[in-house]
């Protein structure tokens, strides 16, 4: 008898049940609102698999979700809340651009490394500052991560529209980093880039950090029950700043990877809700860093399906958004309930 394994199985089955129930509702909605439900269903659920191009683009869109999902999962594991993913990704991306244009002559590997490090640092410092506020003045990091992030978005928008704007482009975007800093495309003509491998490595690294190291142990102890951690001789005060620094670092890294992997520059809508979707991904994954990978893939798959159905059938943007919302609502509500129930009991 392995009760542990049974538990794991039970929690996997509940997530699966939530996914299936939400799919059933989505199908019902499509039947009600689409004139051609068969075609809509086909594109909605199979669209992302119909071509290599679509498939690899779906994989590409899961990459930033993995980074933000990991960042949020790390914060949740440590008992802190990071609602500032948007601002952290955006500042990660912006600093990546700035570093990229500052060292145009650097050797490629070194340049890419500097860009990624810059983005990580930017996101980390932004979130870490909320940790300092929490530690020094006990200001809720839930509020400050969100508020700081919202403010920072406008500052970055100004920089993109003003000093860093690329005057040679018709679109509003920042100057581009040199092309030789861009990551390798894994399956052209799709956008899939080697950032995916970096994301997978990050998932492994975060898992190792959280479950196999001394630091991870202290983070988990503080996160699951601060009184217990303090009782056990852990200096819990330091575990407001550090987990937020790491969490923001991962999200910021996600932003930098968007620049060196996909866009080459920074523009005003680069984040596109990735910071928020990262929370959904982390909740679906039950904050397990390894499970963040399939959770991000599921999320990317559903987004890609909605897009395919919009292009190829009579699904409007609103309907696609509603269906997507229903699916994520059910899955994350189930996961969130389990998470918060545990927080309450713990």
């Amino acid at each position: 008898m392995n009760r542990n394994r049974q538990l794991g199985l039970a929690s996997f089955l509940t997530v699966l049940a939530a996914i299936l129930a939400s799919f059933a509702i989505a199908v019902a909605l499509i039947f009600v609102f689409s004139k051609n439900p068969g075609q809509t269903l086909y594109y909605y659920f199979l669209g992302p698999f119909l071509s290599r191009y679509a498939l690899f683009n779906m994989l590409e869109s899961s990459v930033p979700l993995m980074f933000t999902g990991l960042g949020i999962a790390l914060a949740f594991n440590s008992g802190v809340t990071n609602l500032g993913g948007e601002g952290q990704i955006f500042s990660g991306a912006l600093v990546a651009v700035v570093v990229g244009i500052a060292v145009p002559a650097a050797p490629r590997a070194l340049g890419v490394l500097a860009i990624l490090a810059g983005g990580t640092l930017a996101g980390g410092l932004l979130a870490g500052f909320s940790g300092v506020l929490r530690r020094r003045w006990n200001v809720s990091e839930l509020l400050t991560t969100y508020l700081l992030s919202s403010g920072v978005v406008y500052v970055i928008n100004y920089l993109i529209l003003g000093p860093l704007r690329n005057p040679q482009k018709m679109t509003i975007e920042s100057v581009s980093i040199p092309a030789w800093f861009m990551l390798a495309r894994l399956a052209p003509p799709s956008f899939l880039h080697s950032g995916l491998l970096l994301a997978l490595a990050a998932a492994g690294a975060v898992y190792f950090l959280v479950y196999r190291t001394h630091l991870g142990y202290e983070l988990r102890a503080s996160g699951s029950n601060r009184q217990f951690a303090r009782y056990g001789g852990i200096n819990v005060g330091q575990y407001f700043v550090l987990p937020l620094l790491l969490s923001g670092g991962l999200t910021g890294l996600g932003g930098a990877v968007q620049v060196v992997g996909r866009y080459q520059s920074c523009f005003t809508d680069l984040t596109a809700g990735l910071g928020w979707n990262g929370i959904a991904v982390a909740l679906i994954a039950r904050n397990n860093p390894l499970a963040v990978v399939p959770a991000a893939l599921l999320y990317a798959y559903l987004s890609a399906g909605a897009k395919a159905a919009m292009i190829n059938s009579d699904v409007t943007f609103e309907l696609a958004a509603i269906i997507q919302a229903v699916i994520f609502y059910l899955i994350t509500a189930e996961a969130a309930m389990a998470f918060f129930r545990r927080r309450l009991n713990g």
């Binding site: 009760r3 542990n4 142990y217 951690a229 303090r230 056990g232 009991n345």
Partner: protein
């Protein structure tokens, strides 16, 4: 049977055993309330008062026995059932909503409506004023509950159960948080309620109050009713005797008392908390030598929990005054982390929320005290941790898998896990609070042997327990706390329950000259 049943509410042979820890909280309890009386229920912690009360109010159900209301058997399976019978309860911790007004709190769940649907604010104000006037319980219906004093909140609680039509009022230690003036006013309220025909059951630790307010008094000990008598015939000393009993059942075999050097030294320790008008600990001075067990006894609410926190780095910063040193190092207000490094092992009274992290694995819980020792370059040594966990699981007979979340374990096994962690190794100072809560007799004996083994190996042990038998059986020295002060401190030679009981209940007090001797 002569005439109708004279009792309003009667328990016959009620037994309640808690399955998760095997403790029989009420054993064949016979208890009765006469209509219109004020009845006091007294007993030590764990004597079964609270369980009895919870059964009356439908918060627990009895395993065996009958409840009779006006002579007819009834079942009280929920608070709604109790409500229907007119039994209302005021908990020790108030259940009021801070953001609501007094009137809103009182009518909550039974709000007067206007036009069927809307909350009738004016109507509820009027109702509350009427109610308050009738019982002489002055309150301002529009005041926010958050702004009230403890005494005023208590009135609101009482008005709330009166509003619900309760005729039997069950009050759990109603005076424990009140100032002396508030107690006087409160007793006036009780007398007024009695004049109006209400029946009152009041649970208390304060024996002098029994004679002052109650008509009859019931004493409980060890889950059983010792006696019920007229309050006028019960002086505090005889009540105390009944509460603590005489027989010492517990025998723990231990080696001769051979204390070593002084290890823990506490001088004039005072705890001032913003939450309390009086100091929670006042000028406490204690010494523990290596190889010595100092047992601290006292009734709950007299500073035991505060002393536990103060000695283990869990008191909020800046509230302690005085001098505390461990092995010559000043540790007043030191963090738990620092104390752990200096060799503190600590079994907290709250095993569930302080002693364990319920969502973490059993093995994660078992290593927290020594988690710095299971490392290789910052990485957890999983095999060493597994061996260590297996060893504790085997030695302390913990039933549970080491990689299952500890919350999957039964209460008794969580206790064992916490004990096993803190008793392992060679602590310099062991603070252990309520060591055998929730354990059966065999496990208790095992824990006693382990504690004594630490003592014989030279650990200084601070034992905090509300179980007097335990304190007497284990301690080399016994200190009694009353209202945050050391009421007495004795070598454990020829001490008995009755003697200590007098100090615990504030009937006796050692003066400075005696302590010096």
């Amino acid at each position: 049977m002569p005439g109708p049943d004279p009792f309003l509410l009667e328990l016959r042979g009620v037994t309640k055993r808690f399955a998760d820890n095997g403790v029989t909280a009420n054993r064949d309890v016979h208890f009765a309330l006469v209509e219109g009386e004020i009845h006091a229920l007294v007993g030590e912690n764990g004597a079964g008062k609270t369980t009895l009360m919870r059964i009356l109010c439908g918060l627990e159900s009895a395993d065996r026995g009958a409840i009779l209301f006006r002579g007819a058997p009834v079942r009280i399976r929920s608070t709604a059932d109790a409500d229907r019978l007119g039994i209302g309860m005021v908990h020790q911790r108030f259940c009021l909503i801070d953001g609501f007004t007094v009137a809103e709190n009182i009518v909550l769940m039974r709000e007067p409506r206007s036009r069927l649907l809307f909350f009738d604010r004016e109507g509820s104000r009027r109702l509350v004023r009427e109610l308050a006037g009738r019982y002489g319980l002055e309150v301002d219906p529009d005041a926010s509950v958050a702004s009230l004093s403890v005494g005023q909140k208590q009135r609101v609680e009482i008005l709330r159960i009166l509003y619900r039509g309760s005729r039997v009022l069950v009050l759990d230690e109603p005076t424990s948080l009140l100032t002396e003036q508030e107690v006087c006013a409160f007793f006036e309220v009780l007398r007024q309620l009695k004049r109006l025909g209400h029946t009152i059951l009041i649970i208390t630790h304060k024996l002098e109050e029994v004679g002052e307010i109650a008509d009859r008094v019931t004493v409980m000990r060890g889950g059983q009713v010792v006696d019920t008598r007229r309050a006028a015939e019960a002086d505090p000393a005889s009540l105390a005797r009944m509460m603590v009993g005489k027989e010492v059942l517990l025998q723990v075999r231990k080696g001769p008392f051979a204390p070593g050097r002084p290890l823990l030294r506490v001088r004039g320790l005072t705890l001032l908390s913003p939450a309390s008008p009086r100091p929670l600990l006042k000028q406490v001075s204690l010494d523990i030598r290596s190889g010595e067990i100092l047992g601290v006894a006292g009734v709950a609410g007299n500073g035991l929990a505060e002393l536990e926190d103060a000695m283990t780095g869990m008191t909020p910063a800046g509230q302690l005054q005085g001098a505390v040193s461990l092995d010559g190092r000043d540790i007043l207000g030191a963090s738990s982390a620092r104390l752990r490094r200096l060799g503190l092992a600590y079994v907290p009274a709250d095993r569930l929320h302080r002693g364990s992290s319920l969502s973490m694995k059993l093995s994660d819980n078992l290593i927290v005290k020594d988690h710095h020792h299971f490392l290789w370059n910052g990485i957890l040594r999983r095999r060493t941790i597994a061996d260590f966990s297996r060893d504790l699981i085997r030695r302390f007979d913990i039933k549970g898998h080491m990689s299952a979340p500890i919350r999957m374990l039964s209460g008794g096994n969580i206790q064992r896990a916490v004990l096993s962690r803190e008793l392992s190794g060679k602590p310099g100072l062991l603070v252990i609070s309520e060591p055998t809560w929730g354990l059966d007799i065999l496990s208790s004996e095992f824990v006693y042997r382990e504690i004594v083994a630490r003592r014989d190996a030279g650990t200084a042990i601070l034992l905090i327990s509300s179980n007097l038998d335990e304190v007497l059986a284990l301690s080399d020295t016994v200190a009694v706390l009353y209202r945050g002060e050391v009421a007495g401190c004795f070598r454990n030679e020829g001490l008995d329950r009755e003697f200590l009981g007098g100090y615990m209940l504030g009937l006796r007090r050692q003066d400075a000259a005696e302590r010096g001797a």
